[in-house]
Amino acid sequence: MASVAHETRASVGRLMGWRSPNAFAVGALLIAAAALPLIWRNDYVIDVALTALIWMVLNQSWNLQLGIGGIWNFGQLAIFAIGGYVAGLVSLRWGIDPWLALVMGGSASALVSAVIAIPVLRLRGIYASLLTFSFAEVVRLLVISDESGLTGGSFGLSGIPGLAFEGLAPDAKQRAYYWIALGLVVVTAVFIYVFIHSPLGTALKALRDSPAYAASRGVSPMKMQVITFATSAFIAGVAGAFYAQYYGTISPSVMGLGPLSLFVAMLVVGGLGTFWGPMLGTALIMVVSEALRDLEEARLIVVGLILLLTIVLAPRGLVPLLQQGWARLQLWMAEDSVPEDGPGEDVPEDQPAPQQEGSR
């Protein structure tokens, strides 16, 4: 039974054009990422890489709604911040173990998001973005204007206890955080990969592409939306809690238009709705933003221009573009080897391919 089911899954996968990821490449990438703090022993570099990993988790969770679900949620940063604030507050006020606080932060975010999901469900695209965006702004303004001392107002919460690495030397501690962040990225990626290739993910994509048809085939929009919002928010909340614990502080400055533009740029440049897009985009924008560190605030101009160029020239992002390029390259190599008897080693290297000529 199980093997039959597995075979059908595999054949369905082939039919739908799902690529199975190249195990060798993924493994090499993972090993390289894991070895980074051991090879490049620079506090600052590791810190940036760690931040990038946290953003990757957040962006992956966001992509689940925005790209794969096609739900215009622009309030994910507030959900991220709620995770951080709740984790910080429960461990500051009640002395709850940081690991448990991580889960509690995620759960609180999931709860808030599931509640938001219900009014959003009734809205068409643009109205959903308006509602979620203004939700995020209201959360931000509420925190900033909070004078009760609960959230610390615009200065934020500080002194949030970190995960239990107090005995370690500072650089070892940072490495431990780095590997946990990497673990979070991997777990999130595996979860999202499984999710989008499961019947649930297929239902979600069907709802995105043709809501009426999907609903008529028995996909419940309500159930799917609440599930998507809650799971995506749980991931974002855990990322927020981890952020708060690593830096020991969380403030309203993680929300707002500035950060939002950075994250939207990451998602769009990588490719909305693709599996690798959020990760590639995060890495690219982080590298660009670090390369332009001397420009300080002006780097957002560059990020904005990159976002504008990407959306105008390649609205689906870089990952589909690269995949297309790769597929075309393979097709081109296959074409060349067919008329020849042997593999295409007789082809002179400097002879331009006809496609290249045509595309200019």
């Binding site: 096609g70 215009w72 009014p119 009734r122 809205l123 068409r124 695209g125 643009i126 109205y127 973005s129 308006l130 509602l131 965006f133 203004s134 939700f135 702004e137 209201v138 303004l141 509420l142 204007s145 238009l257 533009s261 939207v264 740029a265 769009v268 909305l272 605030e297 002006a298 957002l300 101009i301 990020v303 904005g304 221009l305 976002l307 504008l308 959306i311 105008v312 020239l313 609205p315 689906r316």
Partner: protein, 295 residues
């Protein structure tokens, strides 16, 4: 009772300004199916233009109004050509989503260019007219606010006449109602798009000039007006110009009342709750129409 009347007056004034901002949003959404996030940036540009005319040349705010309208009109057309036009008709992507993101990118660029050129410090612009107008005992309104409301109302009326009486205005309405039919009737759709973006941006720019002397001009001066315009847009529904104007006044009055009875701090959260409730009952806003019928 006096404070109640005072709140009503200030609600009407802010309502007029919200109407000015959001009508542009409705127009663009009606014709182009684009939620223009760059309108906040146009408020910003309007404010800076009037500040530059004032501090550089010593010209008063009335020159600022004309200058800002001209500059933001041009910017609107440029944004249409650079950020929106290339996306029209692209297959495989959702146009509403990509246009939303591209105008958002434009807004980021504008805000940060302003930060780079003018710095983060607030710039002060003097009001159009000094002094206060006493309506009844204990209820007064500054002349500047009267001018604000007056300019906004005049602009809205002019817009109404433009849309219903002139060739180009009718073209905008036609494109909003039925794109294909409008095209078949020989309406130059690209020109209508440019015009819509230009007019809407100019309205936002004028709102920026009017706001500049109440608040200050700073690189994030466009954020709050944009947020308010979004709230009005959801509340009224992006359906009709008239509905948007009514919604703007309702939101303005509501905000004034909340500030009066609960405190300024609560105005946004309470508004948000109100909007949640409205959306739960009417998913396309108070006056919004379903997909088929618009404007």
């Amino acid at each position: 009772m006096r404070s109640f009347f005072q709140a009503v007056v200030s609600g009407l004034v802010t309502g007029s300004l919200y109407a000015l901002m959001t009508v542009g949003m409705t127009l663009i959404y009606g014709t182009l199916r684009t939620l223009n996030m760059a309108l906040g940036a146009m408020v910003l540009v309007g404010g800076y233009v009037s500040w530059m005319l004032f501090s550089g040349l010593g010209w008063g705010p009335l020159a600022g109004l004309a200058g800002a309208a001209a500059v933001t009109f041009a910017f609107g057309v440029v944004i249409q050509q650079v950020a929106v036009r290339p996306l029209i008709g692209k297959t495989g992507v959702d146009f509403e989503m990509t246009a939303f993101i591209s105008t958002f990118a434009v807004a980021i660029v504008f805000a940060n260019v302003a930060l780079e050129i003018y710095g983060a410090r607030n710039k002060a612009v003097p009001p159009v007219v000094e002094g206060r107008l006493h309506l009844i005992e204990g209820v007064s309104v500054s002349w500047h606010q009267v001018v604000m409301a007056g300019v906004a109302i005049v602009m809205l009326v002019a817009l109404g006449i433009f849309l219903s009486k002139t060739r180009y205005g009718l073209g905008i309405s036609a494109v909003a109602q039925q794109l294909d039919a409008a095209r078949l009737m020989g309406i130059p759709v690209q020109r209508v798009y440019n015009l819509t973006m230009g007019v809407s941006s100019a309205l936002a720019g004028i709102a920026g000039v009017l706001l500049a002397s109440v608040f200050f001009v700073s690189p994030n001066a466009g954020d709050l007006p944009l947020l308010k315009a979004l709230i009005v847009a959801i509340f009224g529904g992006l359906g009709s110009v008239r509905g948007t104007i009514v919604a703007a006044y309702i939101i303005g009055l509501l905000e004034a009342m909340i500030s009066l009875y609960f405190g300024v701090k609560w105005s946004l959260p309470v508004l948000f709750v109100v909007i949640m409730i409205v959306l739960l009952i009417r998913p396309t806003g108070l006056f919004g129409k379903p997909e088929e019928a618009r404007l």
